[in-house]
């Protein structure tokens, strides 16, 4: 019972980017942004499995207070490598490198990104960085926490810190080059008529993300570089025994790593800004405000890093300033949530899988974002800093937010990418399983945190067991929710129903070209004359434009 518009039976194009050329060289040496996006899809999924395996080990081990599954050193490696794999190799690249790479040229009406060869280079850099990090994981592991605090990481840890740090350093350049490519593409490659305020909000979100990528990533690069020098050559920047300052490391580290979380969430917000108008068949409420909010998040996001350090013994004045700024950065996100919700009113809403993910995002990002207030608030942070409250908060945003956005986007654009539809009912069930599993996994962790269970603990006092068992049970359900799409999306690529150019239909420029698109995206450069999400004036979509007025006075 799909509520997609009725279209004549769809035709699968004869020649498209997937069959334009054959052979492994045509994939490994491609400069087609769409093929590069698929290369990234495979690699980030592989790292998602790696990170997911570590997560599974963590939750299994934490079923009992005394932990019989892993030794303390192994457990510490599990949570560290879970963080490193998921943050640097899955979350940061996922939406930009898979969906952004595929869609941005199509959305702006260009034949490719500004620098196609640099695009391919960025994938190879990612693979090389990943190789170094995997090498570290298998030859001694990494047990410093993904935050690499000194002097633990540079002096005291007995794990393979140097290769891991080198791996993350290298992968950072992949991020920088992707951001550079996106920024230049949006500035110089837009089709005629595609003005800034006709751009889809997905593009605005990636523009803001790219600003953060290019300004922030070089700082983590040099910080990790200095830390690696300290580890390997015994220098003393961050080692108090040699006159160095461990807090300097924290400042340099968080100067990037806080904006990094906006790199992870802004693209997902961009996806949601596409899904809700499409499945409510209505313009996004407050387009300009949502675009401005993306930029505001990117800018203010650079001014809050010390909120990770409220309890390091820093000046009280500094803490107060950064707490104030932290509350300010919450406002643009709130504005977006209100605008998304307002878009629903007066719409014509269908519950296809992408929209289910959008609703899921709305609810889970709401909780994740609101719980950030407790952490940014100095009085409560004293108690919940470095407890499971923090772990729950960021998983609600990273998984409940970013991963929901990623999966929603994958489902929404799968027909464009592969030319075929995924199985709708199975996909809806998977989305529901994911939502339930997620909440069961992470909500108890808020309670664990306020009750005082610190994070990164391989054993815990027995009074914390009940919530831990709930969390592990949820994780097993969550795993099913992840595995199902991986299976049926692959199945759909070969056996799914043929989708046609625009199955939903949606208003973006990417839907005015065949599914899958030809290598050059558009046979003729499009000229844009319409506003974004303007269902009322898009006669080409074949919808009943006039009759919808019945809803307008509700």
């Amino acid at each position: 019972m799909s509520t997609a518009a009725t279209t004549p039976s769809a035709v699968f194009p004869e020649k498209h980017y997937l069959n334009a050329t054959y052979g492994i060289r045509s994939w490994l040496l491609t400069t087609d942004h769409k093929r590069i996006a698929l290369l990234y899809l495979v690699s980030v999924t592989a790292f998602f499995f790696v990170g997911g395996f570590f997560a599974m080990m963590i939750r299994l081990h934490l079923l009992t207070p005394n932990g019989y599954v892993l030794t303390p050193d192994m457990y510490n490696r599990m949570f560290t490598m879970h963080g490193v794999a998921m943050i640097f190799f899955f979350l940061i690249p996922s939406i930009p490198a898979v969906l952004g790479n595929f869609l941005i040229p199509l959305m702006v009406g260009a034949k490719d990104l500004a620098f196609p060869r640099i695009n391919l280079l960025s994938w190879y850099i990612y693979i090389i960085g990943g190789a170094f990090t995997l090498y570290s994981m298998v030859t001694g592991g990494l047990d410093t926490g993904w935050t690499f605090y000194t002097p633990l990481s540079t002096v005291y840890s007995n794990s393979a810190v140097a290769p891991a740090v080198v791996g993350v350093f290298i992968t950072g350049f992949s991020s920088i080059l992707t951001g550079l490519n996106f920024l230049v593409t949006v500035h110089t490659m837009r089709a005629p008529g595609m003005t800034w305020f006709r751009l889809p909000l997905f593009v605005w979100a990636h523009y803001a993300t790219s600003v953060v990528m290019i300004l922030g990533t070089p700082v983590i690069a040099i910080t990790l570089g200095l830390a690696a020098m300290e580890r390997v050559f015994g220098l003393g920047f961050f080692n108090p025994a040699m006159g160095g300052d461990p807090i300097l490391f924290q400042h340099l580290f968080w100067f990037y790593s806080h904006p990094a979380v906006y790199i992870m969430i802004l693209p997902a917000m961009g996806v949601i800004s596409e899904l809700i108008p499409t499945f409510a068949r209505k313009k996004l409420f407050g387009y300009h405000f949502v675009a401005a909010a993306s930029l505001a998040i990117a800018v203010i996001g650079f001014l809050v890093w010390t909120h990770h350090m409220f309890l390091t013994g820093q000046s009280t004045y500094a803490a107060i300033a950064f707490s104030l700024l932290t509350f300010l950065v919450a406002i643009p996100s709130a504005v977006k949530v209100f605008n998304w919700t307002a878009t629903l009113f007066g719409g014509s809403i269908s519950f296809d899988t992408p929209m289910l993910y959008a609703f899921g995002f709305l609810g889970l990002f709401l909780i994740g974002g609101l719980t950030g207030l407790f952490l940014g608030c100095l009085g409560t942070d004293i108690h919940i800093h470095d407890t499971y409250f923090v772990v729950a908060h960021f998983h609600y945003i990273m998984v409940g937010g970013a991963v929901m956005g990623y999966l929603g986007g994958l489902h929404f654009w799968w027909p464009k990418i592969t030319g075929r539809m995924y199985p709708e009912w199975l996909a809806r069930i998977a989305a529901l399983i994911l939502f339930v599993g997620f909440n069961l996994t992470f909500f108890p962790q808020f309670l664990l945190g306020y009750n005082g269970m610190p994070r990164r603990y391989h054993v815990y006092p027995p009074e914390y067991q009940v919530y831990n068992v709930m969390s592990t049970a949820g994780a097993s359900i969550l795993a099913v929710g992840y595995l199902l799409p991986m299976i049926y999306l692959v199945w759909a690529t070969f056996y799914g129903k043929v989708a046609g150019d625009n199955p939903w239909p949606a208003t973006g420029l990417e839907w005015k070209t065949p599914s899958p698109p030809p290598t050059e995206n558009f046979p003729v450069t499009p000229v844009v004359t319409w506003e974004p999400y303007d269902f009322h004036n898009r006669k080409d979509l074949g919808l009943e434009v006039g009759l919808a007025e019945a809803h307008a006075d509700d």
């Binding site: 303390p72 707490s323 609703f359 709401l366 407790f374 470095d386 009750n451 990164r456 307008a552």
Partner: protein
């Protein structure tokens, strides 16, 4: 002690109530907005569900009044939360004057806590109820963190500096404390128990010496052993200022500024004597870097602190006169 599904720990310190109150305020506010948005979304999902396959939604661009409203109102609420939190935090970071000072050293993977009379504990802290307690904490290796959930307080313990943490326990009992900054293999077992006792019982426990070393007397011995007493004559006639009464007082420096002679100042004076020169004295003190351990510095500090009550000579102490505002 606790139900299997607890929501928050016991409140056992003077600040716990405020923290919980603030938490509840933020919680209720967030619940309000979360429920509001959720109900609105669910309502809209039903009310505006698609009736026919080719239907479209209404042509609405936005509404300036709403945008301003839902920017300004959350901003005001956010600022309120910020302000309340800042007040609690400032109170938390400002230790009162009349504290019982406990010296804490964290190292992989244990805690050594020293009472004012030198009685030392490993992974245990005994304190009297109703008194202000100040922990002065240092680390011997990596960053640790001392966290007592029932008191709602924690503070990082950073190598190369001292961090202080104060609280006032309000309920007799035993409360967990944890290391709350990942520090390596046994981070999760680096904790212990804070025992809050009746003040009389605490005094009794404290004076039960049975084989403990008094830091004040250890410090006094060191003071002589290291020849500090040859320059720091108590009557102020030596090459160095008398240390009577200096602990906690304001010291006048050669460059006209004043500094409070706290634990950090004393530690710096021992390790980097040229950093701050007392007015009227020559920079001749040798450094003891590499010659004293952290524990010995703690003992010397305890001894110097015990000189607070000794008579201050009229000339030859470094203490700033009462009306010296301290230039710059």
């Amino acid at each position: 002690m606790q139900s299997p599904l607890p929501f928050f720990p016991e409140q056992a310190s003077s600040i716990a109530g405020s923290v919980d109150a603030l938490f509840s305020f933020i919680l209720l506010t967030c619940l309000f907005f979360a429920v509001l948005v959720t109900l609105l979304a669910i309502f809209a999902a039903f009310r505006y569900r698609r009736q026919s396959p080719n239907e479209v939604g209404a042509d609405i661009e936005g509404n300036l009044a709403l945008e301003v409203g839902w920017t300004v109102i959350p901003l005001i609420i956010a600022l309120g939360m910020f302000a309340w939190g800042a007040v609690i935090y400032t109170h938390f970071r400002t230790a009162p004057k009349d504290t019982i000072d406990i010296y804490v050293v964290g190292k992989q993977w244990m805690w050594r806590l020293e009472q004012p009379n030198g009685k030392r504990e490993i992974n245990e802290l005994h304190i009297p109820v109703g008194r202000n307690i100040k922990l002065i904490m240092g680390s011997e290796d990596v960053i640790h963190n001392f966290y007592v959930p029932a008191f709602r307080v924690k503070m990082d313990v950073v190598p190369g500096r001292y961090n202080t943490l104060w609280f006032q326990p309000t309920k007799i009992g035993k409360y967990h404390f944890f290391c709350s900054q990942y520090c390596g293999t046994n981070h999760a077992v680096m904790g212990g128990w804070v025992t809050v006792m009746d003040p009389a019982e605490y005094s009794a426990w404290l004076s039960d010496e049975s084989g403990e070393v008094n830091p004040v007397s250890a410090g006094e011995k060191l003071f002589t052993q290291l020849a500090c007493n040859t320059c720091h004559l108590p009557n102020g006639t030596g090459r160095a200022p008398s240390l009577n009464g200096v602990y906690g007082a304001k010291v006048l420096l050669a460059d006209g500024t004043t500094v409070t002679a706290d634990d950090s100042y004393i530690r710096e004076s021992i390790l980097q004597p040229k950093a701050k020169i007392v007015a009227g004295y020559q920079p001749v003190m040798p450094t003891f870097q590499g010659l004293v351990s952290e524990e010995q510095i703690l003992n010397l500090t305890a001894y110097i602190k015990s000189l607070q009550s000794q008579p201050v000579p009229a000339k030859g102490a470094g203490i700033a006169p009462a009306n010296a505002a301290g230039k710059k």
